[in-house]
């Protein structure tokens, strides 16, 4: 048996990709996740790959039930992602996608915070290329904002781990909690990547800007890695319930009025993360199982939804609801796959979302968080509304745009087909998923009352949509920008910065002006007897340096003498 980290396998495996051509490249990239899956399957629980570097013991392969679930689903996600992007010729997208996935998988299996930090930053750096590869000015700007925020999260993590090391003398990545300053910093780092409210907007900003294939990968890893990290470090931290509840509720309002369908999906992604964060916050076995299971199913159906929108973008060059409609006529398969994704995210019985989301709701009710439960229920109805109905409706039905694009390329269809099979398969036979959850599962999703309650909720939510559309009350899709917290740095912050720098520039100019006048007068005196005036003009930078030298000399003399006076 080989004891090698599966994440590292993908990262190293990505390196030869630029040198491979044609079908060989595809085969190699497909073989990598398969090998990683086999590798992970063969590994027993335990610590397998300790190394020591710069005086620290690092654990690169800690396999236990929690890391295993996330490991499997990450590998599935990259496998689907590779199939979906087989038609892409740009090699940097392939390489960065594999490294990004490898880093996320690597992060799931580390046993210490330093290694976590390394992979954490690697996911940030590798993934930014998926946005940059779109090669539009908007994508470039968004990618830089994304990179700064993501790396900022890493910096917070580093600061937190250093503080924590200082506090506890341990860099182990186990339960952390928010008792110490280090724990709070690390939570903040995780919170950025998990898109906590107010820290969330990088997600809606960047994901819609990535390439069609890039967004599929982005949607799978970064945020779910954060969920894993939260489940590992902060299970049962009650504050997370409130954070999670807020996360489930507010993005759906934005989703309703958003025109860019991939941005709608980004908001709904944010909402789904809220369910998982609530699960982590409740922290009971059922809730943690629910969070893990929901992350598992979510990665697959979210990828599927982004794949279907990616196919639309690929074929029509746009995913604005105002520009689309009637595509079912020429993209029937994509339409069906999108509806399957929508049904899964809406948690229709027999689709994957149902078997995982109901665990979290049950856990909330069981622990008597009734308010939480009510908000989650509302959010469930809301997510059906915008992801289950709005996305397929405006893209594929609604008013006919007259566009008749070709059906998605074969590799995209295969990826979407496989994801659909998984969505339905898990929905119909949840026991396989339940078997790999962190704790023993004693939960039956398919009881009469569960199914009936869910069906009632969803059909009446659909009823509401129908009534609103038919009465004309439903808000028309508009081409517009909706402000979110990104306004703080894209508008307010920029304005402030411009104002501050121009003010500082003026002050500095005045200061240097004064200094130079003094300096020049001083030098003028000096050179009057020595040489032609021309010398001055040529040497003024040197002159100002000499001035600095003199100033510093006086400063030091003064400071040193201060002591003996």
């Amino acid at each position: 048996m080989i004891e090698f980290p599966p994440g590292l396998l993908l990262i190293l495996g990505a390196l030869p990709v630029p040198f491979l051509r044609g079908p060989l490249r595809g085969i190699w990239m497909l073989a990598l996740p398969v090998a990683a899956f086999a590798l992970l399957y063969s590994l027993p629980d335990g610590n397998h790959f300790p190394i020591s570097a710069f005086g620290q013991e690092l654990e690169l392969l800690r396999v236990d039930a929690l890391s295993r679930v996330f490991g499997y689903v990450f590998i599935i996600a990259i496998f689907l992602g590779v199939i979906y992007s087989l038609h892409v010729r740009a090699v940097e997208e392939h390489v960065s996608g594999l490294i990004y996935a490898g880093a996320a998988i690597g992060a799931v299996f580390v046993g210490d915070l330093v290694s976590l930090f390394v992979y954490w930053e690697l996911t940030a750096i590798a993934s930014v290329f998926l946005i940059l590869a779109r090669r539009t000015p908007e994508a470039l700007a968004a990618s830089m904002r994304y990179l700064i925020i993501q790396v900022g999260s890493g910096v917070l993590l580093l600061a937190g781990l250093i503080v924590r090391w200082h506090e506890t003398g341990s860099i182990e990545f186990g339960h952390i909690g928010i008792d110490g300053a280090g724990g709070v910093l690390i939570l903040l780092a995780f919170g950025i990547k998990a898109a906590f409210p107010l820290l969330h907007n990088w997600l809606q900003d960047a994901y819609p800007q990535a390439t069609p294939t890039g967004t599929v990968l982005l949607s799978a890893f970064t945020t779910k890695l954060a969920i894993y990290a939260l489940a590992r470090g902060y299970a049962g931290t009650e504050e997370l319930i409130w954070i999670g509840v807020t996360m489930t509720a507010f993005p759906i309002f934005f989703a309703v009025i958003e025109n860019d369908l991939r941005k709608v999906l980004a908001y709904s992604l944010n909402n789904q993360l809220g369910f998982m964060v609530v699960g982590v916050g409740i922290g009971t076995e059922l809730a943690l199982n629910g969070a893990a299971a929901h992350a598992f199913t979510h990665i697959i159906y979210k990828s599927l939804l982004f794949m279907s929108m990616g196919a639309v973008l690929h074929r029509t060059g746009t995913v604005l609801a105002t520009e689309l409609g009637g595509l079912y006529k020429s993209m029937p398969f994509t339409t069906v796959f999108c509806i399957i994704g929508g049904a899964s995210i809406s948690a229709f019985p027999l689709f994957s979302g149902f078997v995982s989301k109901s665990m979290i709701l049950s856990a909330a009710a069981h622990e008597e968080y009734y308010f939480t439960w009510l908000v989650l229920l509302f959010a469930s109805a809301g997510v059906f509304h915008h992801s289950g109905i709005k996305i397929p409706f405006f893209a594929f039905f609604a008013h006919d745009s007259g566009k008749r694009p070709k059906e998605a390329p074969l590799n995209m269809l295969i990826a979407m087909g496989l994801a659909s099979i998984l969505c339905i398969g898990i929905g119909v036979w949840p026991s396989a998923l339940y078997a790999i959850l962190p704790f023993d599962v004693d939960f039956r999703p398919y009881t009469d009352s569960h199914v009936l309650a869910q069906v009632q909720l969803l059909f009446f939510s659909a009823l509401a949509f129908t009534v609103l559309i038919r009465t004309g009350l439903y808000p028309p899709e508009l081409r517009c920008t909706n402000l979110d917290t990104d306004w703080l740095y894209r508008r307010l912050g920029r304005r402030l910065l411009v104002r501050i720098t121009s003010a500082a520039g003026a002050v500095q100019a005045r200061f240097y002006g004064a200094l130079n006048r003094r300096g020049q007068r001083f030098l003028l005196q000096l050179y009057r007897h020595h040489g032609p005036q021309g010398v001055l003009a040529r040497t003024w930078p040197t002159g100002s340096m000499v001035l600095w030298v003199a100033l510093l000399l006086f400063a030091y003399l003064f400071l040193y003498f201060l002591d003996i006076f």
């Binding site: 600061a159 040197t542 340096m545 000499v546 510093l552 003399l557 040193y560």
Partner: protein, 493 residues
């Protein structure tokens, strides 16, 4: 027998090789001599390192005249560490130098260039190895004058102005240092550093000694380009030939840092001065300002060489920050970064030399799309850039780690935050290059550019690999730095 005279050989080999180069007046022969001399010097440094590790401090009386009358070469862990860095970087650059130099200069000029290179190296090694204060000044002048010529040989006309500035500021710095040394000599009657170290504690708070300290502080600050005395550096690095930039970035400022450590820890006594004067605070403030001001300026540079020159000023700030803690951890971090940064920056300037060689420009706009045209060069720059940022897995992370630890030891959380913030700014300018090189359509200049010649790539990649290697195995970098730091604090010389 040979091992006995290693301290002398360390300096004498490049010193004798320099006129030899000039005499032959053939580029290729000059280069061969330079290769032989630098690698022999490197071997001597390694030999000295093992001797010091085995025997402790080595005292070598030059010409058989015993100190304090004669000139003593004194080798301890601290300066042997610097000797290894300087001669190591110096010897990796020379194989790289051949292609670019041969393409640009005629035979005589090439020979001159190598002669100057060897002289500059001699000067720097001499400054480091000698135990005599006046001797320091002499070697300092040798290296300054030689580097002046090396800078002036740049292809840009601005190289002349840059060299002129460098000369003026170098002279001012050296003059200040010599004034400081003179004052000390007047007070103690000795020029031997070890002797000085013994006598100064008694006259610690007399005004001439404090004045000497002030002159030395400013003089050395100039030499190491500590903010705000850094103004000579960006132009000098930017307009000099690639070989010169790589050499100066990897060695000259590092030797100045050594001088600082030597004077303030050894001569002025084991750190006692740091408590009675506000020197550490002053250094701390200047270092932090350097890190931010220079990094921010770097972000807005359009000339990539200038960008990395400003980055050097910022990185020097990081080193002096480590020194300002006056703690073993801080000094370890500073010396480790001295080691790592020498390798990183020399590597970057060498790779940029390759770019310059192929397209006669290192303007950011001209480098658009170059990632596909010169994949290895750019990959190397990216890796070294990551090391500058302090990415784990590279040597840059190790140094930053130690300097952050030193800040933590003093419970200075805000400093930790500032260091990390400065890393973010570093990321911005490295990110700018990555974005331009990989995500823009090739510029007109880059359209038909080929990968740099192997003779340039291979030496640069030695440094790239070293950057990664020392990011993983820290036994030599941190291990030695830690022992040297302990010696420094204990005042062992």
């Amino acid at each position: 027998m040979l091992a006995q005279h290693l301290p002398a050989l360390q300096v004498v080999i490049p010193l004798l090789a320099a006129p030899l180069c000039a005499l032959f007046r053939r580029g290729f022969i000059g280069w061969l001599i330079a290769v032989a001399a630098t690698w022999l010097a490197f071997a001597a440094a390694i030999g000295l390192l093992f001797r010091v590790l085995n025997e402790g401090v080595i005292s070598y009386a030059m010409g058989g005249w015993a100190p304090p009358i004669g000139i003593e070469y004194r080798v301890d862990l601290i300066n042997v560490f610097v000797l290894v860095v300087v001669s190591g970087v110096g010897s990796v650059i020379i194989p790289f130098a051949r292609t670019g130099t041969a393409a640009r200069f005629n035979d005589t000029d090439q020979a001159w260039f190598y002669a100057m290179y060897l002289l500059a190296l001699t000067g720097l090694l001499g400054v480091t190895i000698t135990g005599d204060a006046f001797n320091i000044f002499v070697f300092l002048e040798i290296s300054s004058l030689a580097s002046y010529v090396m800078i002036a040989m740049g292809r840009d006309r601005r190289a002349l102005t840059a060299a002129y500035q460098y000369l003026i500021m170098g002279t001012v710095g050296a003059t200040f240092i010599v004034i400081g040394i003179g004052l000390l000599w007047a007070m103690t009657g000795t020029l031997n550093l070890a002797d000085l170290a013994q006598r100064i504690p008694e006259i610690n708070d007399t005004r001439p000694v404090l004045a000497a300290l002030a002159f030395l502080t400013v003089g050395i600050s100039l030499k190491l380009a500590l903010f705000p005395l850094h103004l000579w550096l960006p132009n000098a690095y930017a307009y000099a030939p690639a070989v010169t930039s790589a050499f100066l970035a990897g060695t000259a400022t590092k030797v100045a840092i050594y001088l600082f450590l030597r004077f303030f820890y050894t001569v002025f006594g084991g750190g006692g001065f740091f408590e009675s004067t506000p020197l550490p605070e002053m250094f701390l403030v200047l270092s932090v300002v350097a890190m931010f001001a220079a990094s921010t300026v770097a972000v807005f540079q359009d000339d990539v060489k200038r960008m990395f020159a400003y980055s050097s000023v910022a990185q020097i700030g990081l080193i002096t920050l480590g020194i300002s803690y006056v703690s073993e951890t801080g000094l370890t971090g500073a010396m480790t970064h001295l080691f790592n940064h020498a390798i990183i920056k020399a590597g970057i300037f060498m790779l940029l030399g390759g770019v310059m060689f192929r397209m006669a420009s290192v303007k950011l706009e001209d480098m658009a799309g170059i990632g596909r045209k010169m994949p290895f060069t750019m990959a190397g720059i990216v890796i070294l850039g990551l090391a500058l940022i302090g990415t784990p897995g590279t040597s840059g992370f190790i140094s930053k780690w130690w300097i952050v630890l030193a800040a933590l030891e003093k419970d200075q959380w805000w400093l930790v935050a500032l260091i990390l913030l400065a890393s973010l700014i570093t990321m911005l300018y490295v990110g700018r290059i990555v974005e331009v090189a990989y995500f823009r359509e090739p510029s007109a200049k880059a359209a038909d550019v080929r990968e740099a010649p192997l003779a340039m790539l291979i030496p640069a990649y030695v440094l790239v690999i070293a950057t990664i290697y020392f990011g993983l195995d820290t036994q030599w970098s941190v291990g030695l730095a830690q022992r040297a730091a302990a010696d420094l604090l204990a005042g062992i010389y």
